[in-house]
């Protein structure tokens, strides 16, 4: 579990001077300054190396273009988990409840994952495999 959200803004657009002040005030770490904010500075004098900062930030953008995949590719990959009910037990319970209670959520969920008509999320609390499978029988028939 986590108590955090995704944060605000792109860290590599943060003013290097502000990152430097954070470090001096011990609000961040050397590792974070360099690897998250991509700011290069001297750990002793806190002097910012503008040229290297620029290089680090450009390299981070290149890295993103390489590691990022298209949304459709990502969705096709993740869809398999949802379709098979390959989800953590508490998460599957949560979805099963919400899918039953909210028609709106059901529409959004089924639409997003492009799930077959009559699809039901595999019941993680079913007594045995056969019973669990039975909840997805319509999907198998398709």
């Amino acid at each position: 579990m986590t108590g955090d959200g995704g944060g605000f803004g792109d860290p590599i657009e943060r003013d290097p001077g502000a990152v430097c002040r954070d470090l001096q005030n011990r609000l961040t770490t050397e590792w974070t300054a360099r690897n998250v904010y991509c700011v290069a500075m001297d750990p002793e004098t806190f002097e910012i190396d503008q040229a290297e900062t620029e290089l680090l930030r450009r390299a981070r953008r290149d890295e993103r273009l390489h590691q990022g995949i298209s949304a459709s590719e990502y969705r096709a990959r993740e869809r398999e988990h949802v379709l098979r009910g390959d989800l953590p037990v508490p998460t599957a319970r949560m979805y099963r409840d919400v899918l039953r209670f909210s028609e709106e959520f059901r529409k959004a969920f089924v639409g997003f994952w492009d799930l077959p008509q009559g699809w039901e999320l595999r019941d993680p609390d079913a007594w045995d495999e056969e019973e669990a499978e039975a909840t997805t029988v319509e999907e198998v028939a398709l």
């Binding site: 986590t2 792109d10 590599i12 990502y74 997003f112």
Partner: protein, 154 residues
């Protein structure tokens, strides 16, 4: 009611004001022409011929194209398609292991079985436009659908 100067609003948007100055502005009544002024400033900054209808978030705008369509566009020029569809569908996605790095360590890190950390990048300029922390299997969060044809467009 105060009407802030264009120069001051521009400094605000560019992040050039001190937090004290920002707080002073926040405590005052909202200036009535703010929305229009922000649109003007952004229009001038970007130099686009098509009008910006709404600033969606940092970097992203809804623009009315000459053919009448309304699309989400990044300030680098990359377009994400119709504003009524989730722009994330046209972005690059990277799922980061929440245990990655040295920011949140040990029990402070999120459990990768429970959560996924999705980063969305602009395919044009590689800016990180959003990060979602959602349960595994959750559809992309649709952040904001502006009511462009609403009665009160001011």
């Amino acid at each position: 009611m105060t009407q802030f100067s264009k120069g001051l609003i521009r400094d605000l948007l560019q992040g050039r004001l001190s937090s004290e100055a920002v707080q002073r502005m926040q405590r005052q009544d909202k200036d009535p022409g703010r929305r229009q002024m922000v649109l003007e400033i952004e229009q001038e900054r970007l130099g686009w011929s098509e009008p910006i209808l709404v600033c969606l978030q940092e970097h992203l705008f809804v623009v009315q194209r000459d053919d009448g369509s309304r699309v989400v566009r990044c300030d680098c020029g990359h377009e994400f398609g119709d504003y009524r569809a989730n722009w994330k569908e046209e972005a690059l996605v990277y799922e980061r292991d929440p245990r990655d790095g040295l920011v949140y360590r040990g029990p402070r890190a999120a459990d990768p079985d429970w959560h996924v950390l999705r980063e969305f990048y602009c395919p044009g300029c590689a800016t990180q436009l959003d990060v979602e922390m959602v349960p595994k299997g959750y559809p992309f969060v649709f952040n904001f659908l502006p009511d462009l044809d609403g009665e009160d467009g001011t």
